[in-house]
């Protein structure tokens, strides 16, 4: 019984039929998808900003018009708790042919045997055109499992006029602000600021933002979330001295009254702060407000050179898909330079292929946001840890960060996160590649 049929039942005499309807719903008939003979490629994607949504819908229509053989059917799922939702949906084996997810969740999907490798499904020329950061994020156990059509950029936005007024040196990727220099910059800016709050850390975002935006500062200090080269655990890494010092520094900015809580998400556009940590997605709004005075600067260097975040939404073909080639064809379509540009014009993200970058007015060399590309190409950007434990790592880190930003003990918060993460890794026996995942990796 399909939902449309139920609607047709409703129309005549709604109240009297409600009981019947209820019975139908109760028997589980209300939800079964209609059976269909035409090959349909099921696609799930996150419902991003409006233009992003619309672009993807247009892309689907264009693909369907050009490929009468099989049609793509798109389901948009809200971003809020997308990952938890989809990971749970995977348990019932209800995944579509092509699935989008936030990049660092890839490894959990692979380990659970939900995906099949992409490297043999996409043309080699296309793979060679992808930015190194896209390949890095999509690779696990020696295979490429997912690719994005765009990558992300993280930087410090600044109002050039305010920096000039405070007479501070402008940083570059080669010569970023050091930890102490950054502290001085904040102090200098604060002198001209009525409330002394001169930095927006987008504390209102919470969630994944904490891990995405603040773990690069930890890495710049010589710490990390987990041991990437060794056993993958957090002990001695997430709670080591370097990590603690980095988090104490951030806590100091907040505790010292330099950070705007940004409850209205407008600290930068209303001119309350001169500096705003932010992603590529903030750029259009910021440029609308301050135009050519907008500057994009690298994050401060906490000792080992500047680091920044990377990674964004990625696509993968699911293990159960009966038509992986067709799904990959749609993915290859999304990765055509013109389609990549359509999407990145809508969401302002960094195009995922070199060809598209070269054609992008924003991101090509000399473009106003080229810094984001440079960061991705020169290894300044660090992927989030490539382990199935990532959902737990990020949840634990978010919690620790919340505690730290509220003024709690840094060492204590990180020690707790370490315990949670390592317990999880131990419980999963270090994530051995077994069962379906092993079979898929050999495919």
């Amino acid at each position: 019984m399909h939902w449309k049929n139920i609607k047709s039942i409703i129309r005549p005499g709604f109240p009297t039929r409600l009981a019947l309807l209820t019975l139908l719903a109760a028997m589980g008939c209300g939800d079964a998808p209609p059976s269909s003979v035409a090959p349909v490629i099921e696609v799930w994607a996150h419902a991003g900003q409006e233009e992003e949504r619309k672009t993807l819908q247009d892309q689907v229509s264009r693909f369907n018009a050009a490929h009468p053989g099989g049609t793509v059917r798109l389901t948009l799922i809200p971003e809020g708790s997308y990952n938890a939702q989809v990971l749970a949906a995977a348990v019932a084996g209800d995944l579509p042919d092509l699935l989008e997810f936030d990049g660092p969740f890839l490894y959990a999907y692979v380990w659970q045997g939900r995906l099949q490798p992409l490297d043999r499904l996409l043309p080699k020329a296309l793979l060679d055109d992808l930015l190194p950061s896209i390949i890095a994020q999509g690779t696990y156990h020696g295979r490429l499992w997912s690719v994005g059509t765009f990558d992300s950029g993280l930087g410090l936005y600044a109002d050039g006029r305010q920096l000039a007024r405070a007479d501070v040196r402008l940083p570059t990727l080669q010569r970023p602000w050091s930890r102490t220099e950054f502290r001085q910059v904040l102090a200098q800016l604060a002198r001209d600021d009525p409330d002394g709050q001169v930095l927006d850390l987008k504390l209102n975002y919470a969630g994944e933002w904490y891990t995405y935006a603040f773990s690069p500062l930890i890495q710049s200090a010589g710490g990390d979330l987990v041991d990437r080269d060794g056993d993958g655990r957090a002990a001695g890494v997430l709670n080591r001295l370097e990590t603690v010092r980095a988090m104490k520094e951030i806590q100091g900015w907040i505790g010292g009254g330099r950070v705007d809580p940004n409850i209205d998400d407008a600290a930068f556009v209303t001119g309350r702060v001169a500096l705003a940590l932010g992603g590529h997605w903030n750029a259009p709004q910021y440029r609308d407000r301050i135009g050519r005075h907008l500057m994009v600067l690298p994050l401060p260097d906490f000792g080992r050179g500047p680091r920044t975040g990377q990674g964004s939404w990625s696509w993968a073909v699911t293990a159960e898909s009966a038509q992986p080639e067709a799904a990959a064809r749609f993915l290859a379509f999304l990765l055509r330079p013109e389609e990549v540009l359509n999407m990145t014009e809508a969401n302002n993200a960094v195009p995922a292929t070199q060809t598209a970058v070269a054609r992008s007015p924003l991101y090509r060399p000399g473009g106003p946001l080229h810094l984001f590309v440079a960061q991705l190409e020169r290894g300044v950007a660090v992927p989030r840890p490539r382990t199935p434990a990532y959902p737990v790592i990020t949840a634990a880190f978010q919690r620790a960060f919340d505690r730290i930003r509220s003024g709690g003990s840094v060492q204590g918060a990180l020690d707790r996160a370490v315990r949670v993460i390592d317990e999880e890794i131990e419980d999963n026996q270090g994530y051995p590649l077994i069962g379906r995942a092993r079979k898929e990796a050999m495919r």
């Binding site: 708790s81 995977a90 659970q112 919690r399 919340d402 509220s406 999963n428 077994i434 379906r436």
Partner: protein
């Protein structure tokens, strides 16, 4: 249940009538509950390719040495300990005021009851705006006005000391009307003759309240407190929407931790162990409540 000579064998028709409800309770309450008891002793995770094994009391040992969970238990108990008496007192006060039978009290009763029809998630979102930090925030400005300028603006939901009380306040705002209505019905059920007799004995207003109203309201008050306690234990929506357990665990609750475990981390077994703890808490309160009300009955 009273037994009477039957009209033939009624078992088939009774099973037909009670069958759907019993099947529902069995399938969706009893079986899941027993499953939770069982799963709490395993290492089951949603979607894990590793085999499920029996791990004994490991999950319980973990949650009881997990500072986050212990914080959650403490917060839940604190929330109940503060909200239950405050809300009951406020509801009783409102019921007494409304019950004085002055003109226009229907309007007041309506106003006090109105928040009850607001879904908690909507209340939480609206109160985020009310609690906006800075002197321009509604709550900050209101308190500033009431204290004649002595108040320094706070960020209520991010203040480790104020976050939980802030959630308490909106919970009371939303829930009091419900208790008020129940107590009001209790008040209206007190026979007028009792008051007349008390007045003949020369009792004043306070003595009437103390010796007639309160004893007569014993049952509804006990009921209201019981229901509020259970509701307090279930605290989740406000926390999920307003604070996500923060700042620094100040508002995390047993239910919030449970949902975090099963939903964000796929740890079904650990969440099941938390469910068992939650159940024991509820059972404890029910037992205490029963004991107190029985003792009360014997006394009166």
């Amino acid at each position: 249940m009273s037994r009477r000579p039957g009209f033939g064998n009624q078992t088939p028709i009774a099973l037909l009538l009670a069958g759907p409800a019993l099947a529902g309770l069995f399938l969706f309450y009893l079986i899941p509950f027993l499953t939770a008891l069982l799963l709490a002793f395993t290492n089951l995770r949603l979607g894990s390719p590793l085999p499920v094994t029996f791990v004994g009391l490991t999950q319980f040992r973990r949650i009881f040495t997990d500072p986050d969970f212990l914080h959650a238990v403490a917060n839940t108990l604190t929330f109940a300990a503060a909200v239950v008496p405050l809300q009951t007192l406020l509801a009783l006060g409102l019921a007494l005021l409304v019950n004085r039978g002055l003109r226009g009290t229907v309007i007041f009763r309506t106003l006090f009851f109105m928040p009850v029809v607001f879904p908690m998630s909507l209340v939480a979102v609206v109160w985020i705006l009310i609690y906006a930090p800075g002197p321009g925030g509604m709550m900050n400005a209101g308190i500033d006005l009431l204290t004649g300028g002595w108040w320094t603006a706070r960020d209520f939901l991010r203040d480790p000391l104020l976050a939980l009380p802030s959630i308490m306040l909106l919970s009371i705002w939303q829930g009091t009307g419900f208790q008020m209505v129940i107590l009001l019905a209790g008040l209206q059920g007190i026979p007028e003759s009792l008051y007349e007799a008390a007045a003949l004995d020369g009792a004043g207003a306070w003595q009437c309240f103390r010796h007639v109203t309160l004893p007569q309201l014993r049952r509804p008050i006990a009921f209201v407190m019981f229901v509020t306690t259970i509701l307090a234990f279930r605290l989740f929506d406000q926390v999920q929407i307003m604070t996500r357990g923060g700042p620094d665990n100040a508002t995390t609750t047993v239910m919030y931790e449970t949902v975090q475990a099963v939903f964000a981390r796929q740890q079904v077994s650990r969440a099941s162990a938390m469910t068992v703890v939650f159940f024991v808490l509820v059972l404890g309160v029910t037992w205490i409540q029963r004991r107190l009300s029985h003792r009360g009955q014997e006394a009166s």
